[in-house]
Symmetry: C2
Subunit: 462 residues, 2 copies
Amino acid sequence: MGETVVVIGGNAAGMSAASQAKRKNKDLNVVVLEKSPFISYGECGLPYYIGGVIKESRKLFVLSLEDARNKRGIDVRINHEVVKIDTKKKMLEVLNREKGGNGEGYSLIYDRLVIATGAKSVRLKLPGSELENIFHLKFFEDAEKIKEFISLQKPRKAVIVGAGYIGLEMTENLKELGIDVTVVEMLPTVMGDTENDIHSVILEELEKRGVKVLLETSVKGFSGKGGKVTKVLTDKGDLDADFVIESVGIVPETSLAESAGIETGSRRGIAIDKYMRTNVENIFAAGDCAEIRHIVSGQPVFIPLALNANRGGRYAGGNAALSSEEAADEKNLTAFPGTLGSAVAKIFSVEVGKVGLSLKAAAASGFDAVTATVRARTKAGYWPDHPPVTITLIAERKTRKLLGAQLAGGGGSALRIDTIAVSIAAGMTVDTVGELDLAYAPPFAPSWDPVLIAANVLAKKL
Amino acid sequence: MGETVVVIGGNAAGMSAASQAKRKNKDLNVVVLEKSPFISYGECGLPYYIGGVIKESRKLFVLSLEDARNKRGIDVRINHEVVKIDTKKKMLEVLNREKGGNGEGYSLIYDRLVIATGAKSVRLKLPGSELENIFHLKFFEDAEKIKEFISLQKPRKAVIVGAGYIGLEMTENLKELGIDVTVVEMLPTVMGDTENDIHSVILEELEKRGVKVLLETSVKGFSGKGGKVTKVLTDKGDLDADFVIESVGIVPETSLAESAGIETGSRRGIAIDKYMRTNVENIFAAGDCAEIRHIVSGQPVFIPLALNANRGGRYAGGNAALSSEEAADEKNLTAFPGTLGSAVAKIFSVEVGKVGLSLKAAAASGFDAVTATVRARTKAGYWPDHPPVTITLIAERKTRKLLGAQLAGGGGSALRIDTIAVSIAAGMTVDTVGELDLAYAPPFAPSWDPVLIAANVLAKKL
């Protein structure tokens, strides 16, 4: 019998870790403990499941329990909650809730442990927060609740608190269901740290679609009737609401790890090194519960994105698969190259992309940064449909290296963020980017791709 | 009065050269001599103009004569044909055909000359080649002829000789007009040097659309009635045809340059160095008439693509703008970084992309190359529409560096060739590519982008 690698959490990072560990060493006993009844599903699809764009919930599930167990040989246990990590005895206390109730306790010895406990929704604690029909959206169960509520209650007015990715994706999906939506955001910008010119494009689209957006507006509480929310109270007045989606961010789920003495970092996630190791021997972490290194700033960041979780899980699992002797030689370990925070989102018909550092983040990381914005076309000007795309590039003045980019535009905009992501990963200057040989054909791009145009404009400003 | 830079040819490379020269030094006298009545138009749009996708011909014209003259300050002369270059006297003999007829001759002194004479269609010389209704498609005038023929004669059957980009784009456009199309190709593959798995995807689409494709088939001649073509004679039988589009490739237009003693290279284009200089002092060349360096192989290639022409023209014009004294110091010159041959095309609803070296080209350039092919999805599996994309990556065994890629697939495939292009330009190994942080959201990509999947599969094979 081989050694035992236990993974806590059975979603993106956890299942990637377990799969990679087993791939690396098939003699390992790999156990996944997942407290919910679900593993491996597309959280990013949840707004579209609520909106009915994705019709069947089973489509969201990437890997079935059966395949995980039989094809990958992973001992996946759902409804199993880890309640304590004993790092000295290398032992977990687990509650098996398969049969419901308080569950049955047992203990499990590990040789190496991967913590992939994910993140959880921030929940405001305001007067009225206890009212019904104030929803959060993070897990599949959350989505089911919202979907059921909409289908049974046929609500007409929603207030979305928080204009992040989830908030705006929910906005679109609710609106498409015919529900009136008002978005309340505390910050001056939607989607976090968004550059001015990109922000304008997004706001314009939201306005065009009849969404009310209240920026720099604080929610002070909720009021209701019969225990159900009817109003969101803000510093700019009260808003009628048949229901509320509170999407004010997520935070790493670290309580279990912290109570075992595992250190967290400045971004409140589990602190790990490039090999995904925590401060406690034989314990790794990956996914939304952990901080990872930003490739551009070199600093630890909390960027809870699916690919980061998948990739991080893979490295954690691969390194956790090594025996102590193997792991003692760092050459056997594989280092996570870090994140660029590459992200895209669809906001109605606008495609939004971000990568690397924003101007603000660049300044905070000590870069003397310069930006340039261009408005170009995603296709040849003579192609019947050639929607505009706005691109803001951010580069360091001294080295002329690209630090980040944001874009927003019509069909064909989104994937251009990948072109820029590779350029940043390669450490290219804006001059080199402006000289890239990118593909051209009228249905797909103008002969000078918008990325080239943007780089050339920024090169002139530097 | 400043020095005079003369540019021969007023399309992509020529107008880019002229514009850049003027931008670099506004005191220059920049003259463009264009033998046709047209400057600066999108040749790549011509099949779609014939097909009626692009409705108005004026949309194809990127830069008007007025803007070139008044806004950019370029002395553009259309219907002016250069008939001789006297490199000793630095003088051109020009025929001004503005008033028609044989034209009026004059001579023009240059300080620096940029040759941007482009390319011309190869014309088969076979029995029956003199028949009417055998068309070529390279210039705007060609497109007008074909469009007029279709509109007046309402043909029902077309044979397209040559299954390159233009041949297949014409296939799609004629088919959409309701014309029956048979494509005859001498080679075993369409679109030139196409990898097997990519080729299958393209062929399948053509078949699905009812296009007959005859591969490894040679045209032996044409027969007709009343001087008009009615049959294409091949080594596999005769094909009925109301008209023929002969698209068997283009070759650099170098006769003028060659008669002036300017050297051509192994690919039959004008031989230039990285500063776009020919073997004759003060004479530069750019665009389809010239060979350029391939970034991966380092070898001179003839890759007549719009961006290469635009980029090459810019470098030629920038360097030609320098005085002899300035140009004597190489530090003042800007070097063309070369081409990756990045190209995309739409074949009905399949998006095809190529970049870098094919397996065959890699072998010919002395690389020990390995390929891997994956079939993945362009969007999340649970997104309602998630078309497949097939990607073949080609890497060098020893260095593990990416050498090239080809892809074919549904909506959202094309732009991924740019992600790969940047990776190749950066000299990345497949391992590094497999670790890239690419953006993910269900409507745009699966969490592991097809490019990442392909790189990871190839990494395992190496």
